[in-house]
């Protein structure tokens, strides 16, 4: 079955579960996120349980998906095919990690906590979208010479 309305409903349900899970877990609180990353200071290890719990349940989903020829609501799985461990992966993740530590926000919690209406999270999300656009422009320019006319 490939049904756009069903896919939309599934995405909405997944989004609500994700946002509620973040709220319950404590990940929405930048002070706690920074406490989790403060391993040389006043370390708060509780957020490790968020990742642990999430990975275990997601692993069950991954295992189930491997036994399926296609997802329930689509004709094929849309999974990343890039296996390369390169400088882009490591540097990009490090740049992300620096930003994550500086403000205590990663993309999910930042977007979810927009509902609280704090100007700081709105500013963060706006800056994050700008950062994405800056990357995409810089990368296109950098890659341009590779696209020679046929």
């Amino acid at each position: 079955m490939t049904s756009r309305p069903a896919q939309i409903a599934a995405a909405l349900l997944a989004g609500i579960l994700f946002g509620f899970g973040l709220a319950l877990s404590g990940m929405l609180d930048p002070a706690r996120v920074q406490g989790f990353l403060d391993i040389f200071g006043n370390w708060d290890p509780s957020l490790a349980f968020v990742l642990g719990g999430a990975v275990v349940v997601a692993f069950a989903g991954v295992t189930l998906s491997k036994r399926m020829r296609r997802p329930v609501l689509d004709t094929q799985f849309h999974l990343p095919s890039n296996n390369r461990i390169d400088a882009r992966l490591i540097a990009g993740s490090a740049i992300f990690g620096l930003g994550w530590g500086l403000a205590g926000f990663c993309p999910g919690p930042a977007v979810a906590s927009l509902s609280l209406g704090l100007w700081q999270t709105m500013l963060f999300v706006a800056a994050m979208l700008a950062g994405m656009m800056v990357h995409d422009r810089a990368y296109r320019t950098q890659r341009a010479p590779a696209h020679r006319p046929a």
Binding site: L12, G61, G99, D136
Partner: protein, 136 residues
């Protein structure tokens, strides 16, 4: 509920969300990817539904528990802007964040995601240690 229990329960719900999106839609629940594709106008209806649900999650928390989840902002606007730019740029360059690489990547036993998680955790620890060193 203790902080550890609520963190574990919240994490399991995040994992359930990721499992649902994978098994039903065949998609990775990577927030930076979903938000980025939405900003680019790709697959708008499905991605928008996920993001609206994500924003509605804390509202459900408010309805069930009678108060908003705790959000303590710790830094001023200059650092918020810098951090946002770094997070946006870095997640595009590294193709993922705490959800895509962290939750799904580790669950898929992807060596690429293990390296990404190691990299962003190390950098996050470095950033907080620097902040603490500067008395922030």
């Amino acid at each position: 509920m203790s902080a550890y229990l609520s963190s574990l329960a919240g994490g399991m719900l995040i994992g359930l969300s990721a499992a649902i999106l994978l098994v039903l839609n065949g998609r990775i629940a990577g927030i930076s990817g979903i938000v980025g594709r939405l900003a680019q106008g790709a697959n708008i209806s499905v991605n928008l539904a996920f993001v609206l649900g994500l924003v509605a999650g804390p509202v459900l928390f408010l309805a069930l528990f009678g108060s908003w989840p705790q959000v303590t902002i710790t830094v001023g606007w200059p650092l918020i802007i810098l951090a946002g730019l770094l997070v946006g740029f870095g997640t595009r360059m590294g193709s993922g964040c705490t959800s895509g690489h962290g939750v799904l990547g580790l669950a898929r036993l992807s060596p690429r995601s293990f390296v990404a998680v190691l990299s962003f955790l190390t950098a996050g620890v470095l950033a907080v240690t620097l902040l603490r060193g500067m008395g922030l």
